[in-house]
């Protein structure tokens, strides 16, 4: 661990406090030229605060940042950029209405003698950069006409355009397909040979062990350990991250022998999915696997009435139901826990009990008039069942932690006494410690006879939890797998459509 070389950037004893929370408590982090350092930690460990401090969005309360050993302060994002630090963010944060070249050079475009932006020089430089990272589109394309993977390339080109010495990649692979991920790996190798110091943040351990040279572990805002990836095992790293050993054992479940609850026949949509047919039994967990953009969420939202299918029939307990809105879906016993919790799940600004009773006002109210006593009763029943941690039921749901917000959303749906619950990426962004709790709870619900559809991109979760798995690709059902046929290899092969040439549809 003793390094003779001076790190390009080093954070020393950095502390950052927000009202009520110590986000970072005297942490340290070193990044070396030509090497990849993986920052590992659960949600809430302080990773994104670290990124924001390194990029000048936040200023630390205490501690020193050093560049080549010299202390420095970043007053704002520009100062960090001038020091050669650049970040590629979780969601590609770029501008749809500007051209690719303008996106790359926003804030540091080449100027002509009048101090105006030199458009030709800018496009030339942009084309050169795009070529160097293997991008196949013109620098004059408007960003909104590009797909996610290509937008990512623009973000990387932007990072390279400032002649960055330090590149921060915050979950860069979250929205990418397998092919795109391997292209990203190649790119990282190129950056390494160019001598860039790379900070790599990811939840995926296979990626970390594939690409990183060093690791740094944070837990609850505090520094835990650092070292060489070559010297540590995956299990040891996980243990340091969560502070205890985590056995990844999925709950034991009895195979169900029950009647069909939900039957979907030939669901289709003009552009998003086609020919979706399947059945779901009482107490069954049906997994939906596929690559990002395979149309799983789109189909689920259509089943829930957000978008209308162009064709198809949906039967609940043998009765055909016409679902034209979420209200219809809820009335028919189908509920949906969305992937985007902040936007589609909890209603920040309303108190906990009002969030929980929102879809159940029909039962708690009397001829359209609210009855608060009934609302509190219902809300209490389900929040206690989910072991919600809150000061009071009239507290704004926005004051809860992410995990507890998720509990409120689930409580909201269970309070409607549904027959089918659709969980879209139920453990995405949930830390390892809480994952097991979510899985146990799903098993418990299924045991009580609730039918569950689980959309997930995590192979262990899909295999560990599902009775059957439907694999989707390009908006269609590729295959249905169960029992022995259910293996990581078959899942990946079908999801990628490996019998033909693997190619992702550019969105």
């Amino acid at each position: 661990m003793t390094e003779s070389v001076t790190p390009v950037v080093s954070m020393d004893a950095i502390t950052k406090t927000f009202p009520g929370v110590k986000a970072l408590d005297s942490v340290q982090l070193d990044l070396y030229a030509g090497q990849v350092t993986a920052l590992v930690g659960e949600n809430g460990a302080g990773k994104s605060t670290t990124v924001k401090i390194l990029t000048g969005i936040y200023q630390p309360d205490e501690g020193t940042i050093r560049i080549d050993g010299d202390p420095i302060r970043f007053a704002n994002a520009n100062a960090a950029g001038d020091a050669g630090i650049t970040a590629i963010h979780q969601e590609t944060v770029l501008f749809d209405e500007l051209s690719v070249a303008e996106n790359i050079f926003l804030g540091h475009a080449p100027r002509n003698t009048f101090g105006l932006i030199d458009s030709r020089a800018m496009h030339e430089a942009a084309s050169k950069l795009l070529e160097s990272i293997g991008a196949m589109f013109s620098s004059r394309t408007k960003l909104r006409d590009l797909g996610i993977a290509n937008k990512h390339l623009v973000a990387i080109a932007r990072a390279l355009s400032v002649d960055a010495r330090v590149v921060i990649m915050d979950e860069p692979t979250a929205a990418l397909s397998h092919k795109e991920i391997s292209e990203l790996y190649e790119l990282i190798e190129t950056l390494k040979t160019q001598g860039k110091a790379i900070l790599f943040i990811s939840h995926k351990f296979d990626e970390i062990f594939r690409i990183a040279d060093h690791y740094v572990v944070f837990r609850d805002g505090a520094f835990v350990d650092k070292g060489l990836i070559a010297d540590i095992s995956q299990d040891a790293l996980v243990e340091m991250m969560v502070g205890r050993t985590v056995d990844h054992i999925f709950p034991e479940r009895e195979a169900t022998v029950a009647s069909d609850v939900l039957k979907v026949i030939n669901y289709g949509h003009p552009t998003e999915f086609a020919d979706i047919s399947f059945t779901l039994k009482a107490g069954e967990i049906l997994g939906f696997y596929g690559l990002v953009g395979a149309g799983r969420s789109e189909f689920m939202q259509s089943l829930f009435g957000i978008t209308r299918p162009s064709s198809g029939v949906c039967e609940i307990n043998g009765k055909t139901c016409n679902i034209r809105s979420p209200a219809d879906a809820i009335a028919n016993g189908i509920v949906y826990v969305p992937e985007d919790r902040g936007k589609q799940g909890a209603i920040i600004g309303l108190p906990i009990f009002q969030n929980i009773t929102l879809p159940s006002l029909g039962q708690t109210s009397k001829s359209g008039f609210l009855r608060l006593v009934e609302e509190f009763k219902l809300a209490r029943e389900y929040s206690e069942r989910l072991d919600l941690r809150a000061a009071s039921l009239d507290q704004d749901v926005g004051n809860l932690s992410g995990g507890n917000q998720q509990k409120v959303v689930i409580a909201k749906w269970l309070a409607t006494r549904p027959q089918v619950i659709i969980l879209d990426e139920p453990t995405k962004g949930v830390d390892i410690g809480s994952k097991a709790a979510v899985h146990d709870f799903m098993a418990e619900l299924a045991a009580q006879g609730l039918s569950i559809i689980m959309v997930s991109s995590e192979i262990p979760e899909i295999i560990g939890m599902s009775d059957r798995v439907i694999v989707m690709r390009d908006g269609r059902i590729e295959v249905e797998l169960s029992d022995k046929k259910l293996s990581p290899e078959t899942l990946v092969r079908h999801a990628a459509g490996i019998t033909t040439t693997p190619q992702m549809a550019e969105v």
């Binding site: 963010h89 944060v93 552009t271 549809a505 969105v507």
Partner: protein, 327 residues
């Protein structure tokens, strides 16, 4: 999707204006004569100038409803200055007008930037305050033509190379704003702030400050127009340009500037203003009562916003491969 090489919105709007001209010419041949078109342009010049400022503000996800009141207040102030000091040269008057307008814009901008008050609330408020101040300083009285100096009223009408100065000022403003939006970092920042304020922060752009500058620009143009307006009509009173802010917003909306920010162009704003200018000037020519104008510009706003939303809605995700999509 159409290739984005041709700015589709501007093209459609140009065609609409041409069609309008052809229609009017059918009823009254003289309308499309070059000399008359120049008159129409000159008449529309204040709207064009204000639309440029409003465009910048709307691009940053704000709105400035105080432009007409700003215009009227600046107009009154420079008119009163002219009465008090008739010898003051026009460049000084112009500078005062622009500065005064910019200060009023800065007040809007500061309230939006530093106190994060929604722009619509700020400018609704300052709109009434500015109008009220005109009453306070003028005591409700008019400044009439005979009180103003000849140089003061003559400037917008001075003809240079066949065009009145009013038109030249508008052209100059269009050129400056065209260069600013396309070729300066402020122009890029304005688009970035409106298109994705979250990302703009990461690109090192100060969102609030950019919005502040947008309001200052809008205010400066309103001040400039204030002098031109008062000089051209040779009268200043409390209610001049009453409700004109709506026409300015209308010009922007018709010109395809998205009220949600980030989308729009100088060309669009200018064409939107010219469209309204042509309609306004054509009404008396084809014997339609000028009382129709308000309803027509209202309808034009609705049609334009509906049309623009439709054009932008082709964004849906296409997952199914087109070859297979023929089911």
């Amino acid at each position: 999707m159409l290739p984005r090489v041709i700015p589709v919105r501007e093209l459609i709007l140009s065609i609409a204006i041409l069609a309008l001209l052809v229609l009017i010419s059918a009823r009254f041949a003289g309308f499309a004569a070059p000399s008359n078109l120049l008159n129409v342009f000159n008449d529309t010049a204040p709207l064009i100038i204000l639309a440029l400022g409003q465009m910048v503000v709307i691009l940053t996800r704000c709105i400035d409803l105080s432009v007409a009141a700003n215009l009227a207040l600046t107009g009154m102030v420079v008119a009163m200055i002219n009465v008090a000091m008739p010898g003051l040269p026009i460049p000084v008057i112009l500078t005062i007008a622009i500065l005064l307008g910019a200060i009023m814009g800065a007040i809007n901008g500061l309230l939006v930037w530093k106190l994060a008050i929604p722009p619509i609330v700020v400018t609704l408020g300052t709109m009434t305050v500015f109008r009220g101040i005109i009453f306070l300083i003028s005591d409700g009285k008019w400044v009439n033509a005979h009180e103003m100096s000849d140089a003061f009223t003559g400037f917008p009408r001075t003809t240079v190379l066949g065009l009145p100065m009013l038109s030249w000022v508008a052209i100059l403003a269009v050129v400056i704003f065209g260069i600013m939006m396309a070729r300066t970092s402020l122009g890029r920042a304005i688009f970035a702030v409106g298109g994705n304020p979250h990302a703009a922060v990461y690109a090192g752009i100060n969102v609030g400050k950019t919005q502040f500058l947008a309001f200052v620009l809008s205010g400066a143009l309103a001040g400039l127009t204030g002098y031109l307006w008062v000089a051209r009509y040779a009268v200043a009173y409390v209610d001049i340009a009453g409700g004109f802010e709506l026409e300015v917003v209308a010009a922007c909306v018709i010109g395809g500037i998205s009220i949600a920010g980030g989308i729009g162009s100088v060309g669009g704003a200018v064409l939107g203003a010219i469209f309204l200018g042509v309609v306004k000037n054509a009404l008396p020519v084809i014997n339609i009562s000028p009382f129709w104008q308000l309803a027509i510009s209202g309808s034009a706003i609705l049609i334009a916003v509906a049309f623009n939303a439709r054009a932008g809605k082709t964004k849906g995700r296409i997952i199914l491969k087109s070859a297979e999509g023929s089911t």
